[in-house]
């Protein structure tokens, strides 16, 4: 049997020396550089990979989208949250003066391994001046920036008394300007790259367009996306959208020659499009139910986002995701073109024109 040895003063001194040395080496949880402790830890990095201090980091619940906790990166760029909902989103929000683009980490799970690294990219600081058509500045207008890389909103800033707001634009972005005056139509710029440190946006007066979306049986179609486009001068300019309420009603602003599109994210009815100027009286947008089509994408990356083009009406559907095996059931017209892109971004998109055949599942991307 091993005998337990007594702790002599000499051994105790050696032990204390060892522990002290480890603490000075920065062992996690010890010494002056101990990282913040919590249920979820991470680090903020600048574009060269160096740690970045003083950056606000926000944690949101993945289900409710509610703000759960705020933290700030310490002198070594580290941060920690005390709470971590099972599904969550994290947002790093550097000050605009840093010239860095805020960044999201979306759809994380508490079980995701490792320390969360939030690497920030440099952007282009840009001052946006918002006016109405007559040139009067518009305070309290919202300037919204969407990062073109992940399609997430990275800034929502209100204009000041001079109608100005400064944001940091990513190298690919979409930008929305939305006035506090509900009669001024929103202005959207999409798929843009920064070209100047100053940007002027003049908001047009709009007219309210109200109506209902209904099925061919007259039933209201709740949850449909009704989207407005200005088609003046041969250009297409997006004006915004509304979601149809339980009674199928919607209301949005149009300007110029306004074109409405109604899209079902579930693809349970066919998309529809209308030129508002050609319609009279209360708008009742009737959507064709189409016929069911079951499709399956084959290949190395079958899970895809699928858009369906109605050849007769010349309309694309909402882009719906297949299941992991590449299957999707949608309502379609008889002659359609299917456009599918792999959800994992690997592999090429496929596009195929087909005529729907009753009952027969459509297989796409099949190797001969």
């Amino acid at each position: 049997m091993a005998r337990r040895q007594a702790l002599t003063p000499g051994k105790a001194a050696l032990l204390m020396l060892g522990v002290g040395t480890l603490a000075l080496m920065g062992l996690p949880g010890f010494g002056p550089d101990a990282p913040p402790a919590g249920a979820l830890a991470g680090v903020v990095l600048d574009p060269s990979g160096d740690t970045l201090s003083g950056v606000e980091v926000a944690l949101f619940d993945g289900q409710t989208l509610e703000l759960v906790e705020l933290a700030k990166s310490d002198a070594l760029g580290r941060f920690a949250f005390q709470h971590a909902p099972w599904n969550h989103h994290v947002f790093a929000n550097p000050a605009a003066s840093t010239g860095l683009v805020p960044r999201w980490e979306l759809d994380r799970e508490r079980s995701d391994p490792g320390v969360l690294e939030l690497g920030l990219d440099a952007g282009t600081p840009t001052t946006i001046t918002v006016t109405d058509e007559a040139g009067a500045v518009l305070p309290r207008a919202e300037v919204r920036v969407i990062d073109g890389h992940d399609d997430a909103v990275v800034a929502r800033v209100m204009t000041d008394a001079a109608g100005r707001a400064t944001v940091v634009l990513p190298d690919e972005y979409h930008l929305g300007v939305l006035a506090a005056d509900e009669n001024l139509a929103p202005h959207w710029i999409y798929a843009a790259t920064p070209s100047s440190s100053e940007l002027a946006v003049a908001l047009e007066a709009g007219r309210w367009i109200e109506g209902r979306v209904v099925s061919s049986d007259g039933d209201p179609l709740a949850g449909l996306v009704v989207s407005a486009w200005n088609r003046s001068n041969g250009d297409w300019r997006w004006l915004g959208y509304d979601l149809a309420r339980a009674d199928g009603s919607f209301a949005l602003l149009g300007t110029g020659a306004t074109h409405l599109r109604a899209l079902d994210p579930e693809q349970a009815v066919l998309p529809g499009a209308w030129n508002v100027d050609a319609l009279e009286g209360p708008l009742e947008l009737l959507l064709d139910p189409g016929e069911p089509l079951l499709m399956r994408i084959e290949g190395d990356s079958p899970a895809s986002r699928v858009w369906v083009y109605d050849e007769l009406r010349g309309l694309w559907s909402w882009g719906s995701a297949t299941d992991a095996g590449g299957s999707l059931a949608v309502q379609t017209a008889e002659r359609v073109t299917i456009h599918a892109e792999p959800l994992d971004g690997r592999g090429a998109a496929l596009e195929e024109s087909v005529t729907r055949e009753p009952g027969a599942p459509l297989v796409l991307g099949k190797r001969e």
């Binding site: 989208l65 947002f91 969407i146 979409h174 509304d242 919607f250």
Partner: protein
Amino acid sequence: MQRSTRLFLSLFGCVACASFATAAIARDAERAAALERARVEQVLVLSERTARMLGQLHDVPDLVFVHGAEEGR
């Protein structure tokens, strides 16, 4: 068939063929442009999720940006 008739038919065929090909190219280009618009439209609609979260962070009133939508959407 006379030579002039054959020549005329050949030329007519070429012109018809070219017109058809041009129309098909224009149709494909319009379809591709329409797909880009549909894609952008979807991106902007779906970005609402992150916009709502940022609204809490930046204290931006939601009703400013969702024109015509019911409260709390």
